[in-house]
């Protein structure tokens, strides 16, 4: 038996839950088919979400999932340029024609989809991105030069979340695109996803008792993102997310973390997202999205 997870036509953080719903009870017993034929666009969050799902299936010892590529040649080429198919080749049995496009010096991809599993990977990511980030933040988003260092710090801390807490490897991608629907401005999006423990399991031993009946995915996210709690007893821990929040408050950015069945966001005025969404379809690990918008009058 094969179970179909339909890839939303417009696949971003908003439509992610629709995708997660396709798996039913986790891990699904049936072989999965990721049907991307109708896909017309995917954000970095959507792209690495698909890789995460396939990795989680592998770690749950399920049969290699099937993947049908987008019908649109343009979409296939775009996904190839992001590095998606390069990583997907190892995780999926791919059906359909995959264009041979080298992953990318595309101007909108600040960082192609990159695997993160160890501290050295974070060094690579941060080292590679700084020069291009400086140019994009200033030219495309109208941010001051000093925003670049904060951006790289936020990226570093988001990636370290995988290394420190996930118990497995994950993925990161950084793209620049036009947030026409929600904002009418250009944005840079950092997406980080892993198929690991998730926040609830990571914090359970130290925090479950404190929250009592309230303990669950939402409470775990609240402990980590709002209260700065870490599973380590070391008092210096938990500063990574605090640092990201500090950076985002300065540049009117948004952070959103989905783990298990909940998603918690710090929502700036320009967005209409809910701060907390509970009882979502389960999805393994943790997915972090950071959005930094062009400054008003600074967008191109």
């Amino acid at each position: 038996m094969t179970r179909i997870a339909e890839v939303p036509a417009y696949f971003d953080d908003k439509s992610f839950d629709l995708f997660a719903q396709g798996f039913g009870a986790w891990p699904p017993e049936e072989r999965m088919l990721f049907d991307a034929r109708a896909a017309t666009w995917a954000s970095p969050y959507g792209l690495i979400g698909m890789l995460t799902a396939a990795q989680a299936l592998r770690e749950a010892h399920r049969e290699k999932p099937l993947f049908t590529v987008p019908a649109s040649d343009e979409v296939r080429r775009y996904w190839a340029k992001t590095g998606f198919f390069k990583h997907a080749a190892d995780l999926f049995e791919i059906h359909g024609k995959v264009p041979r496009v080298p992953a990318s010096e595309d101007s909108d991809h600040l960082l192609d989809i990159t695997a993160v599993g160890a501290s050295e990977d974070v060094h690579q990511v941060v080292g590679r991105i700084q020069e291009r980030a400086a140019r994009m933040l200033s030219d495309e988003l109208g941010l001051e030069a000093k925003a670049t260092m904060g951006f790289a710090m936020a990226l570093s801390e988001a990636c370290q979340n995988i290394v420190e807490h996930a118990g497995t490897s994950g993925w990161v991608a950084v793209h620049l695109y036009n947030f026409r629907k929600r904002l009418g401005r250009r944005v840079i999006v950092i997406a980080v996803s892993d198929a690991g423990l998730g926040f609830r399991r990571s914090l359970e031993a130290t925090q479950a008792k404190r929250f009592g009946d309230r303990w669950g995915d939402a409470a775990a996210l609240e402990a980590a993102l709002i209260q700065g709690v870490s599973r380590f007893r070391d008092p210096g821990r938990g500063q990574g997310l605090a640092g990201i929040k500090r950076y985002l408050s300065r540049w009117d950015g948004k952070i959103s973390i989905r783990s298990g069945t909940a998603r918690l966001s710090i929502v700036p005025k320009w967005d209409d997202d809910v701060p907390l969404a509970e009882n979502l379809p389960f999805f393994p690990g943790s997915q972090v999205q950071v959005v930094i918008p062009a400054q008003e009058g600074g967008a191109r």
């Binding site: 050295e120 060094h123 570093s156 640092g243």
Partner: protein, 179 residues
């Protein structure tokens, strides 16, 4: 006597990376270990960590290097740490992590300028710290007189600064670290 430690060079020796960035906790812990060994092997009471060649410093690495170095300092030893060559973003990360631990550190500014303090330091402590820098070593009485404070108030601030290892106390006299 001051021992200088160029962190850019320490990074190259401890982590095999072509980059100049101090990022991640494992990197920070490795660099801190190197610094602690250097301090233990030196007779200089003050160690200056030079950030001049450092690219990015993230919060986790700042916590591992600077905050934990101060937290791990043996209270029985006369060892002091100062910073040099920090950029605005370095200072911001260090200030953030030190505040979290209620610690502080001095950063050497331009020639002849009093060091800048990062971390949890009240304006009152800042004032006493600058006073000692400008007037040189002194006791509670001389500092109280310079500031127009009571001796108790000055003594309290001087003691706090020495406990934070921002001044060196010696037989009731408080010395700036960089002199």
């Amino acid at each position: 006597m001051i021992q200088m430690i160029p962190l850019g060079r320490v990074l190259k020796e401890t982590v095999s990376t072509p980059y100049r960035d101090l990022v991640t906790r494992p990197t920070g812990a490795a660099v801190r270990g190197w610094i602690q060994r250097a301090i233990a092997g030196s007779e200089a009471p003050t160690t200056m960590l030079d950030f001049t060649e450092v690219g990015l410093l993230d919060f986790s690495c700042a916590d591992e290097i600077v905050a934990k170095l101060l937290l791990d300092a043996d209270p029985g030893t006369e060892q002091y740490v100062m910073l040099l060559g920090t950029r605005e973003d370095h200072a911001e990360a260090i200030d953030h992590v030190l505040n979290n631990h209620a610690l502080a550190i001095a950063v050497v500014a331009g020639p002849g300028e009093p060091p800048m303090l990062l971390g949890r330091v009240t304006p009152e402590l800042q004032r006493v710290f600058r006073c000692v820098f400008w007037s040189g070593p002194g006791d509670a009485g001389s500092i109280a007189e310079s500031l127009g404070w009571t001796i108790e108030r000055a003594a309290d601030a001087l003691l706090t600064l020495s406990l934070l290892r921002l001044l060196r106390a010696e037989a009731g006299t408080f010395h700036p670290l960089s002199q």
